[in-house]
């Protein structure tokens, strides 16, 4: 079978690229190795309960905001989106402070100024800066190289350095960074662009999905099929083959039998490292490119505790909670402070209850370095042994005890506990070392760590969270960027309108 485009992997980036290219008239085929679509968006079932893998909340989905504009063109705005409280979409517990963050740049700055009056001017400037960065999010697509140069200057600045320069109160710096477990807080490397863009999108508005993240993947797949595209599951790409310097076909193992799929173009939503493994004996891929890609570092993974709660015991909070232990001096130290030690900070997120009322499920997440679980990397899921189970049980208890600071009585309100580590994530999503946010972009080494969709092959492109920004919004913009490399800017711009 010959297609215009074969898309490797059905993560959000793969499905979005397939949808956009199909809408622009191309005959697309998405190839997914798992039974479930969605990559990090996939949900999993334990008993009667369904839990999300990597999807918890999204920003900038309000009317006219950037993700709403993109999602409306992808047919995703009819999903049951549920807005978090505008007067407190995030809540940060740090030291003796318990602070709600409000939506809207002005309100965000004003509500924090009421608590930190000395910092009012700094907060106004900080908020205005985030708004300006947020407003320019589509520039790389709309303005081409000029747009890139403006964002590159922010990518090359340190987020931590900027925060120290612009906010003088260390406690306020921690509050402003305290909601950033949704990115990798790392003093030495985190680019200002990543920090500002992601925080800016949530200040615009914050949303949960009433239902599972897999709804996004399933809806996109349905749209692709309606446009005549193909979406294959249980189909593993075993190699990519070349002819005349271009990739020409994919060998796949589909439901037990070997098949050959041919296409003019290939888009890989797999990690760049995994993509290059499919081109093992490539005569056209010089060692120097492979060497550079394989040396790139990965951002941390997550340890996740999924709780099925006893009925009516724990209230549903229409916001996310970020809670830190009192001995943590800076949220920017969280990775080093808790690796191999006790958990120092958690993000607590709840599923919107079906019929209102109390919470039925709770997810507690904490960053986890791959080194903590590396010794079990060669074991199989559900057969990793007693030591691994004990390790997970101990981490889960620490997470629950910390979350209990914000949800009194939590420990006694749990029906069932499920846990997952970066190994689980690696196993089910293909993320290298179970990374949560893909390749680590380094503000000191931007040219090497910020990959573009282009590869040494003129007809093979990368997409997904390893490029540009991570997260639902970041991946969606990268999908448009990848498609604009393929189609040119004109057909892609309407997806931003």
């Amino acid at each position: 079978m010959k297609y215009d485009v074969i898309i490797l992997g059905s993560g959000l980036g793969g499905l979005e690229c397939a949808f956009i290219l199909a809408k622009c008239g191309m005959n697309v085929c998405v190839v997914e190795k798992n039974a479930a679509l969605g990559g990090c968006l996939q949900s999993f079932r334990r008993g009667k309960e369904e839990f999300d893998t990597g999807f918890h909340y999204v920003g900038a989905l309000g009317k006219g905001q950037i993700l709403e504009r993109i999602f409306s063109h992808l047919g995703l705005m009819d999903l049951p989106w549920h807005q978090l409280d505008t007067e407190g979409f995030d809540q940060v517990y740090f030291k003796d402070k318990d602070i709600l963050l409000e939506n809207g740049y002005g309100r965000f700055a004003r509500s924090l100024s009421a608590i930190f009056p000395e910092s009012q001017k700094e907060l106004e400037d900080y908020s205005a800066f985030l708004e300006k960065v947020g407003n320019g999010i589509a520039d790389p697509i709309l303005k081409g190289s000029h747009g890139f140069s403006s964002i590159n200057s922010l990518f090359e600045k340190s987020a931590y350095g900027h925060l120290c320069q612009s906010i003088s109160d260390p406690l306020l710096r921690n509050i402003l960074s305290g909601t950033s477990l949704k990115l990798e807080l790392r003093r030495g490397t985190l680019p200002l662009y990543t920090f500002a863009q992601i925080n800016s999108s949530y200040i615009q508005s914050a949303w949960r999905l009433k239902g599972r993240g897999s709804l996004i993947a399933d809806t996109l797949a349905e749209g692709i099929r309606k446009m005549g595209g193909t979406v294959l599951t249980n189909a593993t790409v075993t190699s990519l083959e070349e002819k005349d310097g271009n990739v020409c076909q994919a060998q796949i193992l589909h439901k037990g039998s070997q098949e050959t799929l041919t296409a003019n173009l290939f888009v890989s939503d797999l990690s760049p490292q995994l993509t290059l493994e499919l081109l093992k004996d490539s005569p056209n891929l010089r060692p120097v490119f492979r060497r550079r890609i394989n040396r790139l570092e990965q951002t941390c993974g997550f340890f996740t505790v999924n709780l099925k709660l006893q009925e009516g015991k724990i209230p549903y909070l229409n916001r996310n909670i970020y809670c830190y232990t009192p001995d943590l001096e800076s949220v920017w130290d969280i990775a080093e402070s808790q690796t191999g030690k006790t958990v120092k900070g958690v993000l607590v997120s709840q599923q919107v209850p079906e019929n209102g009322g109390a919470a039925t499920q709770m997810d507690i997440l904490t960053p986890m370095d791959y080194s903590e679980v590396e010794r079990w990397k060669d074991t199989l899921p559900n057969r990793r042994g007693e030591e691994y189970l004990a390790f997970k049980a101990k981490k889960a208890e620490e997470c629950i005890l910390l979350a209990q600071e914000c949800f009194p009585g939590l420990k006694d309100s749990i029906e069932t506990i499920y846990t997952s580590s970066p190994l689980t994530y690696m196993n089910y999503t293909g993320a290298v070392k179970g990374t949560a946010y893909g390749i680590r972009k380094d503000c000191n080494n931007l040219t090497q760590t910020l990959l573009t969709p282009k590869t040494p092959f003129a007809n093979l492109y990368f997409t997904g969270q390893n490029l540009n920004l991570h997260g639902i919004l970041g991946v969606s913009l990268t999908s448009l960027l990848t498609c604009s490399e393929i189609l040119g800017k004109e057909p892609v711009v309407p997806f931003l309108e």
């Binding site: 010089r286 060692p287 120097v288 490119f289 060497r291 550079r292 040396r295 090497q448 040494p456």
Partner: protein
Amino acid sequence: MTKEELIAKTIDILAEEFEVEKEEITPEADIKKTLDLDSLSLVDLVALIEETFDIKIKGTDLMKTTNFSQLYDFLFERISEK
């Protein structure tokens, strides 16, 4: 590291990683043509040099060197500054 050692090491690593014959890497040869550099592989070259010699360089500075003789001078100066 002496300049001769630097030159030998550079030739070895470039020949291996860019898959060109060592004999092609002469002092007067054009870097861009010899290594078949485009914007993507220029980044590869920067990464390779940084890793090999444990230095930080900018692609724009590297592109000011047109032949290998100039590249060796540039690298030797950078390494001596360490």
